[in-house]
Symmetry: C2
Subunit: 376 residues, 2 copies
């Protein structure tokens, strides 16, 4: 039987029991809120994991790249929302991928994009729908729910062959929240904005069947989603130190980690080196507001038990530098060269993206390989 | 003929003329300094590019992962230095890859690692050599050139089947320098440390055939390398904003960029969105000390001309947010949705690592695909 000592490092580990618990938890949230869940697969990028969300079947999903669209169609998914804006050339290719049995929704984030798509693509076909993006305070893409631009976009789309499928918003500002009350407030902002936009569109005579919102923090703490049809979230599947810092999860709910090997121990400068660096861990510092700052990740034994007071204090491309958080002496007996450790991620999406597969640790400790679809 | 308008974005672009100029320039530096060049392929991760360093042939190379070792052997390279520490299991596998015609050198960064390898691997075979790492001030791996530990490591290796191939150092502190004089000082530190270590080893009766140092900044500005046998550098092949900020190269020498498409324009909040985000650009902020701060990259037209006063001010996974550096209004006519732009990298190694191939723009503007070997 393959064990964690047989896997060449660095490598990506996924604990199936924790994954399943996280998946069940969000399924229960969506059910309690009376909405359907459209999981965002930009984190997991795996059909094996997507199917687990739906009890082995397929279901509506969100994705972030053209390659994910194609991959999930190949794996039997038939209701796909690409939640990143597309250029006309991508719309043409999506049109070739959609069919009587595969519906693809695209994001339209403003009037200028609506014009570009409507002008260059007079007839994208009946299987592509446009989701108009509403900005509920994140200030990335989308238009305000009370803007004139919202109705202009709908008018532009209505006059083109690109049908309005609905509206969506993403309360990305929830990642900057301090405390659960603040996250609940962002959830209310998401909810208010999307309902307001829907009402204005319907009042103006447009259909708006799909009403979509979400982020892992807001989906976790929202108190109500009345009038909403679906919630989107992705990182909840694995959780990470950023989510833990936000109060979304506990440390023992983190399902993902990087397996690494100690390749140097320098007690004179109180540093141990591991063979997981800026590529294997990512350089994401999204958990830097946590107390204490995990640096580039917290360090666990090979069995997944957190080693108190250790963090990855620096990374270069293939080196991670471990030291103590409080500057006291390293536990050298735990960090002898050749020893394996696990590093918990600041940001699961970014850590996973460098790895082409998961080493999935099953309930019985067997290890199975699940592939990911990286790139574009 | 494929043009930059036919390539689906985000995508990695490499300008061959600039690449060739950078390669020739470092070849000339090594020749002038009287040392051989052992290019570090952790940046390019491409046999096509490695061969260009050697005028179409092969030569001595440096790599950072086990997968690179295997890939470059498959592509005919026979003298390979893996400059990241290895655990005993990796040493066993390297031993299987080495042969009468393939020599592999490994890094030994301290006494604890030497003991681990010597204990667990009594006979790694005649085709593996150990390069002892010297810390010349970077404080990552290695031992001081005047430490007792240096001679202890040599003694430990000497008693094992792992032959001493030489010593190496990397003046990584050159990345924090302000001004060329400071980089020259780091080059002197590298030089002094490696020569001192060599002399002590030889005086103690050990052979030390390979004397290796380098980083792109120090290789560019070193005044002398007397007694050194080889210089290592990698990022010089592409250059990037970090190197430009250090004074190592000019902006028009950057050979690598990410091709992206504008997918949103919001003049009300002075932001344009592109489909290259934290994955396609990387979240590296190594150029943050540049004046002005390029954020996550500088923005060029599709033809590669820098658009004055623009930078990528923020990234999420698949979104890049472009705004002006000084807060004045965006040049909306250059950023209409559907428009293609190029983004220059803060750190070429990190940007390239997310992409599985290069779109190489030839002298005649033809575009050729060269693959990369990512992962581990």
């Amino acid at each position: 039987m393959t064990t964690l000592l047989d896997i060449e490092t660095p490598a990506l580990l996924l604990e199936q029991d924790k994954l399943m618990k996280n998946l069940r938890s969000m399924n229960a949230r969506a059910k309690a809120l009376g909405v359907s869940l459209r999981p965002h697969l930009k984190t997991a990028k795996s059909a094996d994991i997507a199917r687990l969300v739906f009890d082995g079947a397929t279901g509506p999903i969100t994705v972030s790249t053209m390659r994910e669209v194609s991959y999930f169609i190949d794996h039997g998914f038939t209701d796909i929302f690409l939640a990143v804006g597309v250029s006309p050339d991508k719309l043409r290719r999506l049109n070739q991928m959609a069919s009587d049995s595969v519906t693809i929704k695209i994001a339209v984030d403003g009037q200028s994009m609506a014009t570009a798509l409507a002008t260059e693509e007079p007839d994208p076909g009946a299987h592509i729908g446009a989701m108009i993006e509403i900005d509920c305070g994140d200030s990335r893409g989308g238009v305000s729910s009370d803007s004139e631009e919202l109705l202009q976009i709908a008018t532009t789309l209505d006059g083109s062959g690109l049908a309005i499928a609905g509206v969506f918003t993403h309360g990305g500002q929830s990642y900057d929240c301090v405390g659960i009350d603040a996250i609940r407030e962002v959830a209310r902002e998401e909810h208010h904005a999307i309902i307001h936009a829907t009402e204005r569109l319907r009042h103006a005579g447009f259909t708006c069947p799909h009403i979509s919102l979400g982020s892992t923090p807001t989906a976790t703490f929202a108190e109500a989603m009345d009038g909403v049809t679906e919630v989107r979230a992705g990182v909840y599947m694995f959780q990470d130190l950023q989510q833990q810092g936000l109060g979304v999860c506990a440390l023992d709910e983190l399902a993902l980690s990087a397996l690494a090997t100690v390749i140097g121990l320098h007690t004179d400068r109180n540093v141990a080196l591991v063979d997981a660096g800026g590529l294997a861990l990512s350089k994401d510092r999204g958990a830097s507001a946590n107390e204490p700052d995990p640096g580039f990740g917290l360090v666990c034994t090979v069995d997944g038990d957190i080693i108190h007071n250790l963090h990855v204090v620096g990374v270069s491309q293939e080196h991670g530098k471990i030291s103590t958080i409080d500057g006291t002496a390293l536990p050298a007996h735990l960090l002898q060269p050749g020893t394996r450790v696990r590093i918990l991620p600041n940001h699961a999406c970014m850590m996973a993206a460098a790895h082409d597969h998961y080493n999935v640790i099953g309930h019985d400790q067997t290890i199975t390989r699940w592939n990911r679809v990286n790139g574009w």
